[in-house]
């Protein structure tokens, strides 16, 4: 039993070494130990998909005078199930450790034809030994390469198109997201601004209560405060320069802003009365101040109500 196992292992090692020889093979013609000419073949794949190509390389080398050997003939490889789609050759002469070396390389690009096994027949290389003026041949071993199912090739155009499409999709999504975000922010800001109008009227109603003293003995001062308060409110509410304008101009601006006729009339009445009180030098009754106060209060409340109704 033990022997049988040993024999099997030996057989496996033997088979492996054979398989390796399929991809690399070499022939050496000894002349002297240092001046031998060798030829080796190599396939860069042991298995090749049907739609791929692979390289078959023949290397001839010797270490001596470069003119010692002349390669007279190198046949094309005899191929089974392969075809040659390209070839190239190169010659390298140089020194390695003070010894001259020549390497000639013949490279073939092969393409499989059908599924199954493919073979590269042994090559015969005729060369001449110039020292002895003799002609000899080198023969390489046959190599086998398995042709397997074709693999799917990467479609770069499709890849690029898909990539670009995806990129633009991402870009578009991003832009849309930014747009929606900004729109939402703008709407929120507008909502916030609209909401702020309510506090504007409320603020001025509070100012009216706090700043305009109906019992102030200097009634002219109360009229002055009231008129300034109204003008300031109009400036903020309708974006007009009421503080720097005359009454007619303010009324004109309010009419342009489509303010209701009643409010414009009330504004005119208040401001005209305030002007009389402020600039006529005469005494004005407290009742007049109270009426103006009520009118301003009414304007503020009316605008507040209108705004709430419009937002609802």
């Amino acid at each position: 039993m033990r022997r049988a196992i040993f024999e099997l292992c030996f057989l496996f090692v033997l088979l492996q070494s054979r398989s390796f020889a399929q991809t690399t093979d070499s022939t050496t013609v000894p002349d002297s130990l240092t001046e031998a000419i060798t030829a080796s073949v190599q396939a860069n794949r042991q298995e090749v998909p049907q739609n791929y190509t692979f390289k078959f390389i023949l290397k001839i080398s010797w270490q001596s005078d470069p003119t010692r050997y002349e390669i007279e003939k190198v046949d094309n490889p005899v191929l089974t199930n392969f075809e040659i789609v390209g070839n190239a050759s190169s010659n390298w002469v140089g020194e390695v450790g003070g010894v001259k070396k020549v390497i000639r390389t013949y490279e073939y690009v092969l393409k499989p034809q059908s599924l199954g096994m493919g073979y590269i027949g042994g090559l015969i290389i005729d060369y001449k030994d110039t020292r002895f003026d003799e002609t000899h041949s080198l023969v390489t071993n046959r190599l086998e390469v398995k042709v397997v199912d074709p693999v799917k090739e990467t479609n770069w155009t499709l890849f690029l198109l898909t990539g670009s499409g995806l990129f633009f999709l991402i870009l578009l999504t991003g832009a849309t997201a930014i747009f929606i975000r900004r729109k939402n922010a703008r709407e929120a800001e507008q909502r916030q601004q609209m909401l702020q109008i309510i506090p504007l009227e409320e603020t001025y109603l509070n100012h009216l209560k706090q700043k305009v003293d109906l019992k102030n003995p200097n009634i002219g001062e109360s009229f002055s405060v009231l008129s300034k308060l109204l003008k300031r409110y109009l400036s903020e509410r309708y974006q007009i320069s009421a503080l720097e304008s005359a009454i007619q101009e303010i009324a004109g601006e309010l009419n342009k802003s489509a303010v209701s006729e009643k409010i414009v009339a009330q504004v005119e009445e208040v401001l005209n009365t305030c002007d009389v009180a402020k600039f006529s030098g005469g005494q004005v009754e407290t009742g007049t101040l109270e009426r103006c106060y009520t009118l301003v209060e009414d304007i503020l409340n009316r605008n507040k109500r209108e705004f709430i109704e419009s937002t609802n």
């Binding site: 002055s224 320069s241 503080l243 720097e244 304008s245 005359a246 009454i247 007619q248 101009e249 002007d275 009389v276 402020k278 600039f279 006529s280 030098g281 005469g282 005494q283």
Partner: protein
């Protein structure tokens, strides 16, 4: 200080009736141009001379002539030409061969209302003769000085185009006019009416409806119109803003103004605002009066810089900015 505004108001209502009559008579001839007529009346009521500037054909001369026709006063129209001499205006001494003495021959300036037509067509010495009379209200011929009649009002016209061969009024002299009016074109409806009225028909006759005494009396009343200290401060703010715009938050005007309005501007703005209030039958001045007349009082008293000219900013633009930025009391 309590002011009897009620009494002033009633007085004004009573004594300003002639204004209605004048405007009614003037409107028989002049269509539209309410702004110009009102300013002429302001000049008349506040004893200030008026300079009218506008392109030809805007009825400047006709308006002045018609206004003069409504007042029972002496009226003279003097056409200023390049060859006019001061003597042609104020008069001269004439040698009387019969008694061997010089006799004074008074010129057309001895009148109540003077229409100095195209004032910029005469040389500086003639303009000076007129402007001296305007300020001093008296004329010296030889060794004798003659006071001018009251009312004495100069209404001058000038044309902003055709500057060739003209003698522009120097700033110091133009400052003596209380108002400088910029007369504009009539609107479509007004021009239609002008076209219909003037198409081959004779100019309607205008009858005198007011005597000089009424004007003088109205002037006294105008001076009684109440002007509150707040309004006076507002006037000062406007005038000072043309001198030191930075102090009033008008930095943009700092480099545009070479010389601001003179104290004469404050005086005239004060007077003209009162006259404006009077025309509105009001016994007190409100900011609206100041704003309304401000441009006409200030536009010829501000000298703009080269920078302003380069930026095509005029004195009117400066005044407009000042009036729109100074807070009303």
């Amino acid at each position: 200080m309590a002011v009897d505004i009620q009494a002033i108001n009633e007085k004004i209502k009573r004594e300003s009736e002639f204004v209605e009559k004048i405007t009614s008579e003037v409107s028989k001839v002049i269509v539209g141009q309410k702004y110009m007529i009102e300013r002429l009346l302001i000049g008349l009521l506040s004893n200030g001379h008026v300079l009218l500037e506008g392109v030809p054909g805007l009825a400047k001369t006709m308006a002045v002539k018609t206004l003069s026709s409504t007042i029972k006063t002496k009226f003279q129209r003097i056409q200023f030409t390049p060859d006019l001499l001061p003597a042609d205006l104020i008069g001269t001494l004439i040698y009387d061969q019969r008694n061997g003495e010089f006799r004074t021959k008074k010129g057309p300036i001895f009148s109540n209302l003077i229409l100095a037509d195209e004032i910029n067509r005469s040389p500086a010495k003639v303009q000076s003769a007129l402007l001296e009379a305007m300020m001093e209200r008296q004329v010296t011929i030889g060794e004798n000085t003659f006071p001018l009649d009251d009312p004495f009002l100069v209404l001058a016209t000038q044309n902003p185009i055709e500057q060739e061969g003209t003698y522009p009024l120097p700033e110091a002299q133009i400052d003596r006019f209380m108002l400088k009016l910029s007369v504009g074109y009539p609107n479509k409806e007004e021009e239609m009416e002008i076209m219909r009225r003037m198409a081959g028909k004779p100019v309607p006759a205008v009858k005198p409806v007011v005597d000089p005494a009424a004007i003088i009396s109205a002037r006294k009343l105008v001076s009684e119109v109440y002007i509150d200290e707040k309004i006076e401060r507002y006037i000062l703010d406007i005038v000072f803003a043309t001198r030191n715009p930075k102090e009033y938050g008008l930095e943009e005007l700092q480099d545009l103004i070479s010389y601001g309005a003179s104290p004469r501007a404050s005086i005239y703005l004060h007077q003209a605002s009162k006259a404006h209030a009077f025309l509105r039958r009001r016994g007190y001045v409100i900011p609206e009066d100041v704003r309304s007349i401000g441009m006409d009082v200030l536009r010829h008293r501000i000298i703009v810089t080269y920078e302003a000219e380069a930026e095509e900013k005029t004195a009117e633009d400066v005044v407009r900015t000042v009036l729109n930025k100074i807070e009303v009391p």
